[in-house]
């Protein structure tokens, strides 16, 4: 369905896709830091599988925008060593699924060196990673894996849900002095071949630099009956669910985590204490995941704020199916979120 052209605006504000907004932050930091460089597969000639580095090879040249062979262990090792030696590398891994190849470099070297060296070495390394399914790319190109990365101490992880946050969170990652991971759901990049941009993922993005602090959640919609916690694409699913629920008289608050690590535990608890009900939507596998951690926040602080058991809407503990109906069945979509909210509302007048 075609989107209507927005009405005439007085000024000339820009509405950007998440891919464009994220790379604007990279351009800006690259211009300020001669020690910053990008390394990964298809980052130079192609401009990134998801358009994260378009135009950078032309501006910064082959010494700072470096195409690699399919050799994640090698180039993440290079980046980790370079970061320890004082440079500020950015590593693109188009699909989070590929971290399996190079996880030793990430979790034993990049993540732990600052701690193990007693703070003598910092590792200012930023990963740009795409994740998520919903487009029939099967079990090895559709995963989310927040928990796989988030479980390891020493890695900060953010996942923006719109273009404004994409730029601000990327700037925060690039300015941080240790390992950061900036993850974007493939449906949210704003690339036509992955589905036209979701209207709420496009955002007005200022030309000037700004940062968004780690660990600060964002309330997209206020409500009084239930808190729906989401992150990345599930924020958009939760917003649609909240619309539907509103028409049935249920007032849902939508909280976007924005950071997986550090997690905004205060923000989560505050919202749930207000609404008394909690549904968490995440495209990562259910068990031992973000959804469990969010429930633990409430269980540990004060479970008596809950008027009904909390519900998790996550990926079932199965590999992502290739078949469209089977994949659709597994995704944390609007229908599943609506049903989960209703299950928390039973008996409520």
């Amino acid at each position: 369905m075609a989107q209507p052209v927005p009405a005439a605006a007085a000024g000339s504000e820009r509405t950007l896709t998440m891919a464009r907004a994220g790379r604007e932050a990279v351009f800006s930091e690259m211009r300020k830091n001669p020690d910053m460089f990008v390394i990964g597969e298809d980052v130079a000639k192609l401009g990134g599988v998801f358009g994260t580095t378009v135009g950078m090879a032309e501006e910064f040249g082959a010494s700072r925008i470096i195409d690699t062979p399919i050799s994640e262990t090698g180039f993440i090792g290079i980046a980790t060593g370079a970061a320890m030696a004082g440079m500020r590398p950015i590593v693109e891994i188009a699909f989070v699924d590929f971290i399996g190849v190079c996880f030793n470099q990430i979790y034993n070297f990049a993540a732990k060196t600052h701690y193990m060296s007693g703070g003598q070495f910092k590792v200012p390394l930023t990963f740009m990673i795409g994740y998520g399914g919903g487009y029939n790319d099967a079990a090895q190109h559709s995963q989310t894996l927040f928990a796989t990365l988030g479980h390891v101490p020493g890695i900060k992880i953010v996942t923006p849900a719109d273009a404004y946050d994409a730029k601000g969170l990327m700037a925060s990652c690039l300015q941080d002095d240790n390992v950061t991971v900036w993850m974007v759901h493939k449906r949210l990049w704003g690339l036509g071949w992955l589905g036209f941009p979701l209207p709420k993922a496009l955002a007005t993005v200022p030309e000037h630099d700004y940062t968004i602090p780690f660990g600060q959640s964002r309330i997209w919609r206020e409500g009084g009956d239930v808190t729906i916690v989401g992150l990345g694409l599930t924020v958009h699913n939760a917003l649609q669910a909240a619309e539907q629920l509103a028409s049935e008289g249920i007032s849902a608050e939508v909280l976007d985590l924005r950071s997986v690590v550090p997690l905004d535990r205060e923000g989560i608890f505050k919202s749930v204490a207000k609404t008394g009900r909690l549904v968490v939507a995440d495209e990562d596998y259910m068990s031992f995941g973000v959804t469990s951690e969010v429930l633990a926040v409430v269980a540990e602080r004060d479970p008596t704020v809950l008027k009904a058991p909390a519900v998790r809407v996550a990926y079932p503990d199965v590999p992502v199916p290739f078949s469209r109906p089977m994949e659709d069945f597994c995704l944390p979509n609007v229908e599943r979120i609506v049903a989960a909210v209703k299950s928390t509302m039973k008996g409520k007048q």
Partner: protein, 79 residues
């Protein structure tokens, strides 16, 4: 004076059809010559259209519609 925005010939390759993905500026916005104003898709490549002149932008081809060679997708009215 009004300047048409068309997809430059070199962006088409062997294709005859593309699609508007998104406009960076809203209808009626002031844009400057050379600024990216829209993202379009030809085959699976996402390309940017830049403003051919400075002035007020008029959007003719809305996002998610198919566009062809030589089609005027927007106009810029210069002051």
């Amino acid at each position: 004076m009004s300047v048409d925005i068309v997809v430059p010939q070199e962006m088409w390759g062997d294709s005859t059809e593309g699609v508007v993905v998104t406009w960076i500026y809203q209808n009626g916005a002031s844009v400057a010559k050379g600024q990216p104003v829209a993202e379009i898709m030809v085959e699976k490549a996402q390309l940017e259209l830049v403003a051919p002149a400075s002035g007020k932008l008029t959007i003719l081809a809305v996002p998610e519609t198919v566009i062809g060679r030589d089609q005027v997708v927007g106009r810029i009215e210069s002051a």
